[in-house]
């Protein structure tokens, strides 16, 4: 069948069951948007205020639904505005297909208006980039891009179409193949052959070796990493932890991979990890890390990390093994499959003594009383007001750590946070994407005054699409996390971190046609939350907290994991 090139692009999106795309039009991508006009009943396009917002929204959509997110942008500045979003998705292994258009072939390489080498720019922050110069290759490249983004360790992919490739009079051969059946199409088959065409299966010898190591261990500790979340292996992980009867430490990216309220949970591990997690890590004799990459925020001091333990690393990406921390054993495979195979072979263990030593260290801090609003009160009020399956999107900094420490996440995709790249301004975009993908769930966006100012223009998107997202600004009038470091390490030189310059977030919300309220104590916070939950529109709560609140506990970067700077 002969179809227009742009039509083939839309049909390829439909092959992948894409029904929502985020983006922003412009000169070179006009042809694609013209075709989108014909497909408006099948593909919903969400127009954001800025390309960066679109990139985070597509990312948030992908993280919360487990599907591949799609984001459109034009050439030049449109494309470069995506880069922070692409890098964010890359660091947290989120599957997003970014589609940009570039100038025509005859203008390529001539420094033409709005021309940039985006495939070159995006190369180190994507799994793959494609520059499409021949319209006939569109279906192959689209299918391959989606396959690469979603399989193995997921991640972003960028496709850059030259404008002449998308010209409306360009006709190409095209046949609709649902994604479940496209594995035999040319480019995917070729890719598979190059990488050993067989059903990938973890090595049974490696599995059995770990089973033996577990049998010899008296003090095992599990780390639940982002791989458990991305691989949606939460059920298998829970069964594994319960069979092993071992404490479970959760990384920032692992939030939602293991129930936060489970009796075996020791909470977060690493720089702002709980006493229980960090002490357990130091004293365990077997550390089994699933889908985690031992980043410098977890393995603060790689040489002494879990120094008494045999370290076992389970990951889908072989290049993570021995990258940050040297291991004793590893298993390559998807978290789900590896844990299934392990669960089949494991008897029920009991590590009563070890648990009794570690788990009591995880004493939940009581929420402070008093008239002055504290972060603990804000979070406690949110947790008590919203349904337990509420999706939480955070920005980056103190409020992020408080949110992750406080909330008990129950399922993968419930916590959306930029753990790897630490992108300020990620939260609101991600919340928009999450709400688009999960219209039945309540979405709360926690942010700080510094982060919120970075992408608060997306309130326009929240208003236009009637998204009842609750934004809670932990407003301390400072870049809190940086201030905390300045306080502890830089002799209280508060260099350029005080944000004594507005805006008035309540008025800002109103300016965008939304509602907002400033709260200074717990009662006002609770009242505002009730109003936010019932108003049916976007709502901004400006929670006034003290500038000197700190994230506790804290271990300095590069220090031993139990050398707490703050308890």
């Amino acid at each position: 069948m002969k179809v227009r090139a742009t039509q083939a692009i839309m049909e390829c999106l439909l092959e992948q069951e894409v029904d929502t795309v985020f983006g922003y039009p412009g000169g070179t991508i006009l042809n694609l948007y013209d075709e989108l006009y014909n497909y408006k009943d099948k593909i919903r396009h969400v127009l954001t205020a800025h390309e960066q917002g679109a990139s985070h929204a597509a990312d948030g959509y992908a993280r919360s639904t487990g599907k591949v997110g799609v984001c459109f942008a034009t050439s030049g500045p449109g494309a470069t505005n995506l880069t922070t979003g692409i890098a964010t998705a890359y660091m947290d292994s989120s599957p997003v297909v970014f589609i940009t258009c570039n100038v025509s072939e005859d203008l390529l390489g001539k420094d033409s208006f709005q021309e940039v080498d985006i495939t070159g720019i995006a190369m180190p922050i994507t799994k793959a980039t494609y520059l499409v110069r021949d319209p006939q290759t569109i279906p192959d490249i689209m299918r391959q891009a989606f396959a690469v983004a979603a399989t193995g360790r997921p991640g972003p992919v960028l496709i850059d179409f030259l404008k002449n490739v998308t010209a409306l009079n360009t006709m190409i051969d095209y046949e609709f193949i649902p994604w479940t059946q496209n594995r035999s199409t040319n480019s995917i088959r070729e890719l598979a052959i190059n990488h050993g065409l067989k059903a990938p299966e973890p090595d049974i010898g490696d599995i059995n070796k770990l089973v033996d190591m577990i049998a010899q261990s008296e003090r095992p500790l599990l780390i639940c990493g982002g791989g458990v979340v991305r691989g949606r292996a939460d059920q298998q992980f829970r069964e594994f932890a319960e069979k092993l009867d071992a404490p479970v430490a959760i990384t920032v990216m692992g939030g939602g991979g293991f129930p936060g309220a489970h009796p075996l949970t020791t909470g977060m591990i690493g720089m702002h990890g709980s006493q229980a997690s960090n002490v357990a890590c130091n004293e365990c004799d077997l550390l089994i890390a699933v889908g985690c990459r031992f980043s410098d925020r977890v393995a603060l001091q790689p040489d002494t990390f879990a120094s008494q333990a045999k370290i076992v690393h389970i990951d889908i990406d072989r290049s993570e093994i021995d990258k940050n921390v040297l291991t004793d054993h590893h298993i390559i495979g998807s978290a789900k499959r590896v844990l299934e195979l392990l669960n089949d072979r494991l008897p029920q263990y009991s590590h009563k003594e070890w648990k009794e030593h570690i788990l009591p260290l995880r004493a939940e801090q009581p929420v402070e009383g008093g008239d002055k609003l504290t972060p603990g009160q804000v979070l406690d009020a949110i947790q008590k007001a919203v349904p337990h399956d509420t999706i939480v999107a955070t920005d980056v900094g103190q409020h992020q750590m408080w949110s992750i420490q406080h909330f008990h996440f129950e399922y993968p995709g419930q916590l959306l946070t930029s753990g790897g790249f630490g992108t300020m301004g990620f939260g609101l975009g991600a919340a928009i994407g999450a709400k688009m993908g999960n219209p039945d769930k309540v979405v709360v966006h926690t942010t700080g005054d510094g982060c919120f100012r970075m992408n608060c223009h997306e309130l326009a998107t929240v208003q236009y699409y009637h998204l009842p997202i609750i934004t809670v600004v932990f407003n301390n009038g400072t870049l809190g996390m940086v201030r905390q470091w300045q306080h502890l390490i830089y002799h209280e030189h508060y260099s350029q971190t005080t944000l004594d310059r507005g805006p008035d977030f309540v008025k800002l919300a109103q300016a965008y046609g939304l509602k907002g309220k400033r709260v200074t104590n717990r009662a006002e916070m609770e009242a505002a939350l009730q109003e936010a939950l019932s108003c049916g529109c976007g709502y901004v709560i400006d929670a006034q907290i003290d500038m000197d609140e700190m994230v506790r506990p804290m271990v300095a970067g590069g220090a031993h994991i139990t050398d707490f700077l703050l308890k």
């Binding site: 070159g120 520059l131 995917i188 598979a192 190059n194 889908i316 072989r318 290049s319």
Partner: protein, 188 residues
Amino acid sequence: MKKTFDTEKKLYTLSLLVQDIPGVLSQVARLFSRKGYNIESIVSGETSQPGVTRITIVILGDELMVNQIAAQCRKLIPVMVVKILDEETSIQREFAMIKVKAVDRNARDEVIQMANIFRANIIDVSRETLTVAIFGDKSKTTALIDLLDDFGILEMAKTGTLAIERGRSSIYDDNKLREEYNYGKNVL
């Protein structure tokens, strides 16, 4: 048992098989620069399989670093195989063309003699110059270049090191490590 690594810095040779697609060489080269590793030499050329290119890279580093860079290379989608070649079990060669000043008969005779000793070839002659082509391992080419320098080298074109394993084993051999990397890249 945790692994131990040789901490002595030396030259390592990496052989890569990559899909011959636009940008693949820059993708590989950029990996080295963004990880802060210096490429001593890089050679890229076709293989007996259509659509597959072989890249040979020599870098200076310690064992852990070389393992890291090999791991990062293997992770790239167009990269099919990466093998760290060992000096004892592989053959390494390079090729150079050297244009030497030789204005009088004496100089010309001497250069020709030198070339003969090294089993190099004279591939071009003019009234004032001789161009010598040499093929051999790094120590041999370096020694000849050093000697020819006395006559005055006008210009030189030299490849980086090419390498291939001795005996039956080849870069195509399957092994567990290769399978482990392919696991994460399999699109099925």
